[in-house]
Each structure stands twice: as structure tokens, then as C-alpha cells.
């Protein structure tokens, strides 16, 4: 039932075009739903080392071929190839491997903690570790990063204490964010890590603004931001790229294309038509499309973009082509909407395994050392977890005092928040009559 009756001229138009084909709406559909064997034959994987590496100060349009290609360094035998090989020494490679392995060990433990009821929520980055660890190593330690919720690898690489991460995840009395934020929504100013928002893509224009401010101030630090491919649909993405190109902002914008946004495949962000890197060109920004499971390629691409930004040559959009190996979060069950075999058949493998094989091929590593490292990291995470648990887990009373709920809404407490704070304290006394101020702010 159309709400409006057709007007006379519309009827004439319909008659005129009576012989024309009716319009049809295209609704994207992923190739493999549950129960279907994934078919990756449509995916062309160029050989490692085959992609040219233009000068960092080139015109943005010169990067066009790299927007539809795939920058790869590590070949099937774990050998680094071509002009994008960052030629890192073995020690640096081992550090990179360790940071990725630690990120994974941390994720495993925290996911289990959520399942055991120690917190409300968790998100892993399994299979995507290279997209945060390698850029964090390629950037300067004081460059400012604006992450999404899946870049715990940056914090870990920058040496943020695991125990503090866990305190945040447990929302306990030692949580530096005072139990206010959903688990994993970290903030770490001293580590150049911007406060994470739950609202998607808001960090992109903010990163551009930080970069503009750095340029206004004649600073040397640049900014970098991360966003999921699904979130590129938000208007903030467009705003960020427009401002980035207009002001030649010293910023690196990373799109982590893990092919899924909760249950929606990347086709719902436009991937059926064009790569995410290719969008850069329309804005006049340089674009690079990288094998996101190749830590060396990710490192090299970040270095390229950072050098470009540092030399006032402009912004870069990097698409990291990767795969979300696990569920979206602890609230998600991916077997409901995608093929279970996708993970095992995904042709770009696992970033940790690939870097490990590279180090082994170099004669700088072996399986025994890997096993020993994994055991050591698991132990390290366990120890940090134990230390954090001494400060409490979610929902067992060991949280920040009630009055802290009213702080930081504003710099100073206005009268109405002071009243409400007193109300909250009174409610506590009614709910727990045994509580006395001298008992401290622990709930019984």
C-alpha cells in the first residue's frame, strides 16, 4: 500500500517506460554462511615482494596501484622479499613476536575470566595482532594513537602494565578509570593512548585534529588512528579524510579490515565494489593496502606513512587486510552467521605463526624457544591476573567509592551533583546499615 496515489504525470511515465526492466535492489550476501565450505578463489593474492615502493613524498595519486594491490613481504617459505622489507634486526623481530604472543596470551586469559564471571565483557583481537603491534613499533613512542577497542596490542607493545589493564577489565578499586568504563575501553595518556570510545569511528576526526594541532604548534609528533572496516561507513570517516586532505594533516589512518562487523560482512561497508584503501585516492590522500597478517608488511607500511607525515607530505590511509578469527566479543557467537571453516581456510594465515617461521628461516629462533616463550608469557599474564584480582573483580564490592561516580563530570562539583552524591551515600547507609565512614568505602 503506497501512501501516495500516483499523480497523472507519474502514470504517463510508467506507461512510457512499460517496456523497461523493473529496478531491483542489490543486497550484499557473504559467500559462506554456516554449513557452507568457504571459497576464497575470488581472492587474488599477489606474490610477496612484487609491490613497488614509491617515495614517501610522492603525489597521493601515485599510490593508486597500491590501493588495489596487497603489500606483502613474507613469502610462503617465511622469507622476507622485495622493496617493502623493513630489514629489521633479529632482536627487533623477536620483540615483535613476543609482543604479539603476549597480546594473544592476554586475550585468552581475559576471555576466560569473563566466562568465569570476573567481568561483564571482553573483546579479543586474535589473528589481528600484527595490525596493532607492528604499527606501535614502527611509530615513535611519543606519537599519539587514537585506537578502536581492538588495539590492546598497542598498549602491550608500549609497555603499559598488564595488571593495570586487568584492573580496568575487572572495574575494581585499583582501576585507573575508576570503574566507569566498559572493560577494555582503556585510556593511557602517559603512553600516548587516547581514551577509547564505545561510539564507532569518533576517534578518526579527533586524530586528525590532534595532528593539526601538532602542526599548528610546530611539534614533531604525528597521530595515528585505527577503525574497523565496518565503521568506515560512519560519517566521521568522511569528515576525517576531508580534514586530513584539506590541511595535509600529519596523521596515519588505519582501517583494520577483518572482514566482519559483528554479523555483517565487509560487503555492507562497500567491499564488494572497491577496497578500503582505494577510498583514500578520492580524497587526495595516499592509500596503501597491506597484508594485515604479515607483520613486516604492516611495519613497513606504517613507517612509510609516518615518514610521509613527518615530512609534511600528507596523510595516509592504510587498509590492513586481515581476518577476525574469533567472535566479535564475549557477547557474540559467530557460528550463527558465518562458516565455521572460514578461519582454518583463510589463506593469509596467522601473523604469529608467520613471523615465527620467518625467524626460524633466518636461523634466529626455533620451536623450543617459542614454546618456552609461550609458557613464560602465560605465567606472566597469570601473575598479573592474580595481582589484579587482589584488588577485586566486578560485582564483589571492591570498587571505587560511591562519591567518585560524581567526579569528573565537570572539573568542579556543582550543587546538584553534590546533592546527588550525598543521596548516593545515604542510600548506601540504608542498604548497608552496618557501614560506617571509618570502615572505608568497601561494601560488605
Amino acid at each position: 500500500m503506497l501512501l501516495f496515489p500516483m499523480k497523472a504525470w507519474e502514470r504517463i511515465a510508467v506507461a512510457d517506460f512499460a517496456n523497461q526492466q523493473p529496478l531491483a535492489l542489490h543486497v550484499p550476501e557473504p559467500k559462506a554462511r554456516p554449513g557452507v565450505e568457504p571459497d576464497w578463489s575470488g581472492l587474488t593474492l599477489p606474490p610477496a615482494g612484487a609491490q613497488p615502493r614509491p617515495d614517501e613524498t610522492c603525489a597521493a595519486a601515485e599510490t593508486w596501484p597500491l590501493c588495489t594491490d596487497l603489500i606483502r613481504v613474507l613469502d610462503e617459505d617465511g622469507v622476507a622479499q622485495g622493496p617493502w622489507n623493513p630489514r629489521l634486526d633479529a632482536e627487533t623481530l623477536r620483540t615483535m613476536l613476543r609482543n604479539m604472543a603476549l597480546t594473544r596470551a592476554f586475550d585468552e586469559r581475559m576471555f576466560r575470566g569473563q566466562r568465569q564471571g570476573k567481568t561483564s565483557f571482553y573483546m579479543k583481537c586474535t589473528g589481528e595482532e600484527a595490525t596493532s603491534v607492528a604499527p606501535a613499533m614502527a611509530l615513535a613512542a611519543d606519537d599519539m594513537v587514537f585506537p578502536s577497542y581492538r588495539q590492546q596490542g598497542i598498549l602491550i607493545t608500549r609497555g603499559y602494565p598488564l595488571e593495570d589493564m586487568i584492573n580496568q577489565i575487572y572495574s575494581n578499586k585499583a582501576d585507573k578509570l575508576k570503574g566507569r568504563q566498559l572493560p577494555i575501553m582503556y585510556s593511557a595518556r602517559d603512553y600516548g593512548f587516547f581514551t577509547i570510545s564505545g561510539n564507532l569511528a569518533t576517534q578518526l576526526p579527533q586524530a586528525v585534529g590532534w595532528a593539526m594541532a601538532s602542526a599548528i604548534s610546530g611539534d614533531t609528533r604525528i597521530a595515528a588512528a585505527w577503525v574497523g572496516e565496518g565503521s568506515t561507513a560512519e560519517g566521521d570517516f568522511h569528515s576525517a579524510l576531508t580534514f586530513a586532505t584539506v590541511y595535509n594533516a600529519p596523521v596515519v589512518l588505519n582501517v583494520v579490515n577483518n572482514q566482519w562487523a559483528i554479523s555483517s560482512f565487509s560487503g555492507f561497508a562497500g567491499a564488494e565494489r572497491q577496497t578500503f584503501a582505494a577510498r583514500a585516492i578520492g580524497y587526495g590522500v595516499a592509500g596503501l593496502r597491506v597484508d594485515g597478517n604479515d607483520p613486516l608488511a604492516v611495519y613497513a607500511a606504517t613507517r612509510w606513512a609516518a615518514n610521509r607525515a613527518r615530512s609534511n607530505a600528507g596523510s595516509t590511509l592504510i587498509e590492513h587486510f586481515t581476518y577476525r578469527a574469533e567472535g566479535h566479543s564475549t557477547s557474540d557467537d559467530p557460528s550463527q552467521y558465518r562458516s565455521a571453516q572460514e578461519r582454518s581456510t583463510w589463506p593469509l594465515g596467522d601473523p604469529i605463526v608467520r613471523l615465527k617461521n620467518h625467524l626460524i628461516a633466518l636461523g634466529e629462533w626455533d620451536e623450543n624457544r617459542q614454546a618456552a616463550m609461550d609458557a613464560e608469557l602465560a605465567e606472566m599474564v597469570k601473575a598479573a591476573t592474580r595481582a589484579a584480582e587482589a584488588n577485586g573483580v566486578l560485582g564483589h564490592g571492591m570498587h571505587h567509592p560511591f562519591h567518585t561516580m560524581f567526579e569528573d563530570v565537570f572539573e568542579t562539583l556543582p550543587w546538584h551533583l553534590r546533592e546527588q552524591s550525598e543521596q548516593a551515600m545515604r542510600e548506601r547507609r540504608i542498604k548497608w546499615p552496618d557501614w560506617r565512614p571509618e570502615d572505608g568505602d568497601e561494601m560488605p
Binding site: V27, L182, N199, G230, F268, A269, V409, I430
Partner: protein
């Protein structure tokens, strides 16, 4: 014929019924298609009605609401879902400047018959971006209707009425009561809906008219105005305290059923307003002003407002934030005094 349903089932049923009756109804939103929505409200509908009537969208709330306005202009009846009310803000311009005013600025040439569904409210440890109650932002906008159901029966009837309505409707679904009538006892499992009379949902088509409140419990001592989750929480406190309260579930905030409110406050002479949203500029302020304007000479004591605090929704202190039994009970004591 009727059967017991949860809120989610009732909402799903309402969508099913309207889609079956009217081919102009289309559903869209993030993850609503194949998957059926993160809260399962649209489960099975894509399979039944096809991908061009129930489809996933890009993650762009501005886009979702903007294209819904365009579809409405064509003559469809879009029912977009915003995954959480906390994520509606990128679509605000399309709602406030566009959907709300299309009829007015075109003198009725174009209308925006969309129903924006969105889960709202806290109580699930969702932190500040999965817990908000932003209804007052919308009730403040001329041209938008705002509907908030409190039980499966009303959810279905109100949603069908909202979809059939030719004006834009914001339909907020209190997610805390999707699976049961939460009464504020957060340390106990919630009683399932099937134990509650209002989970009895008639089969097929029926409507609960927009703009009509419901007296949940008749009483003489005080009038309690609430909507959504807080209907159950406030009702439970009144029963607990043995106060002979008249509990009114507003159901629609705009247009408001002022008649039912007026009749009740004239009878009781006392009025308590309860909502989970922040206090300052909340819908309670509007209600308080209206009661004062309409019932000033009937009031025996000042009106009480019980609300969430004026802070973002905290994570670990969720239950200290929530306007639960103690906060409501204190207000009820104050207002019940002679």
C-alpha cells in the same frame, strides 16, 4: 487466541504481523537481517519476507535514518533499528531536522512515517555506551512521537500502532525487561515473563493506541508516573511498602495522556515521577510542570522526582546509579507524609 511471550518475542511478532499485512513495511539496521539483530528482535523475518524487505545496513546511523526518510517519502513504511539508543546520535540531524519536520515544511506534501526502534536503558553492565535513556532529547523535538512499552502485550500493540502511524515515532525498548519484568532486585535472577499476566499476547493484529496511558494499579494515596522498566521497579516498591499507590504506565510520552494523569492526581493529591534517565532536563521535569499546571490546587505536597543521577552511566557502580528501591522508597515516604 493468545499466548505468553517475552518482550523480544512480542516485538518480533508485531513486526511479523505488520510485514504480513502491509508490503510497504521494510526493516533495516545493523545486524538485523540474516542474524536477526543482536537482541534477536528481527529473528526469522529476513527468511520469511526476503532480503529486500529485511536487510542489514552499513554502520551509519545517519545513513540508516536518512535513507528511511527517503523511503518514507517514496511511500514505504520503514522500521529502522538503531542497535543501541546510545548510538542514535550520528542520526540525530536526520531525525530532528528532517524526519520531524518533513510534514510541516512541505505543508503535508511529504511525510516521514518511520518507526525507529532502539533498545535503551541500563541494568546490564553495559557501561556508558550501552545503558543510556535519551528519551528527553526526543520528546523535546516538535514533530517526533516517543513511545516506551513496559510489557509484551503493550510492546506488540504499541509497535503496530507506531508503524501504522504516519508520523515519525521513536520506539525505545527497555532492554532490561526484554526477558522478564525486572523489579530492581539485581541480586536475584529476574522472574521470566511467562509468570506475568501482561505477557499474554493476542495472536495476530491488534493495536494499543499511541497517546493512552494505562493505570497499572488503582490506588488512593499517591499517583506514581513511570514508563518502561521503572513501572515494574516503582510498582514493586509501592507493594513492598504497602502504599496504596495509583501506578500509571505512561506508555507514550509524546503525545502524552494528560487526562489520565490529571484524573489520578486530582484524586490522590500527591504525585511521584520515576525515570531512569538523568534528572536535569529529563522528562520528569516536563511531567512535573504539567502536573503543577493542571493540578496545582489538588496537590497536598510537593511533587517528587526520582531519577538517575546526572552523570554518565557508570560500569562498576551501576546499581548505585540506578534509581532503585531505596531512592524510590525515600521519596515515597516523603510524599506519603501528611
Amino acid at each position: 487466541m493468545s499466548r505468553r511471550m517475552t518482550m523480544i518475542e512480542a516485538i518480533n511478532d508485531a513486526l511479523d504481523v505488520t510485514m504480513g499485512r502491509d508490503p510497504a513495511v521494510v526493516i533495516m539496521g545493523e545486524d538485523v537481517g540474516y542474524f536477526g539483530g543482536v537482541f534477536r528482535a528481527t529473528a526469522g523475518l529476513q527468511k520469511k519476507y526476503g532480503k529486500t524487505r529485511v536487510f542489514d545496513t552499513p554502520i551509519s546511523e545517519c545513513g540508516i535514518i536518512g535513507v528511511a526518510v527517503g523511503m518514507g517519502a517514496y511511500g514505504l513504511r520503514p522500521v529502522p533499528e538503531i542497535q543501541f539508543a546510545d548510538y542514535i546520535y550520528p542520526g540525530l540531524d536526520q531525525l530532528v531536522s528532517e524526519a520531524a519536520r518533513l510534514r510541516y515544511r512541505s505543508a503535508g506534501e511529504f511525510i516521514a512515517p518511520l518507526t525507529v526502534r532502539s533498545p535503551f536503558g541500563g541494568g546490564i553492565f553495559g557501561g556508558q555506551t550501552h545503558s543510556q535513556s535519551p528519551e528527553a532529547l526526543f520528546t523535546h523535538v516538535a514533530g517526533l512521537k516517543t513511545v516506551i512499552p513496559s510489557n509484551p502485550h503493550d510492546a506488540k500493540g504499541l509497535l503496530i500502532a507506531a508503524i501504522e502511524d504516519n508520523d515519525p515515532v521513536i520506539f525505545f525498548e527497555p532492554k532490561r525487561i526484554y526477558n522478564g519484568p525486572f523489579t530492581g532486585a539485581y541480586d536475584r535472577p529476574v522472574e521470566p515473563w511467562n509468570k506475568h499476566a501482561d505477557s499474554e499476547v493476542p495472536e495476530g493484529y491488534y493495536t494499543v493506541p499511541l497517546g493512552k496511558a494505562r493505570v497499572v494499579r488503582e490506588g488512593e494515596a499517591v499517583t506514581v508516573l513511570a514508563y518502561g522498566t521503572m513501572v515494574h521497579v516503582a510498582h514493586a516498591v509501592c507493594l513492598d511498602k504497602g502504599v496504596d499507590a495509583e501506578v500509571i504506565d505512561l506508555r507514550t510520552l509524546v503525545p502524552l495522556d494528560i487526562e489520565t494523569i490529571r484524573a489520578s492526581v486530582r484524586k490522590t493529591g500527591r504525585c511521584m515521577i520515576v525515570h531512569e534517565a538523568t534528572r536535569t532536563g529529563g522528562f520528569g521535569a516536563e511531567l512535573s510542570a504539567l502536573v503543577q499546571e493542571h493540578c496545582f490546587y489538588d496537590l497536598e505536597v510537593p511533587i517528587e522526582r526520582v531519577t538517575g543521577f546526572d552523570t554518565p552511566y557508570p560500569h562498576s557502580l551501576e546499581w548505585a546509579y540506578f534509581p532503585g528501591a531505596v531512592r524510590i522508597g525515600e521519596a515515597l515516604d516523603r510524599i506519603s507524609k501528611d
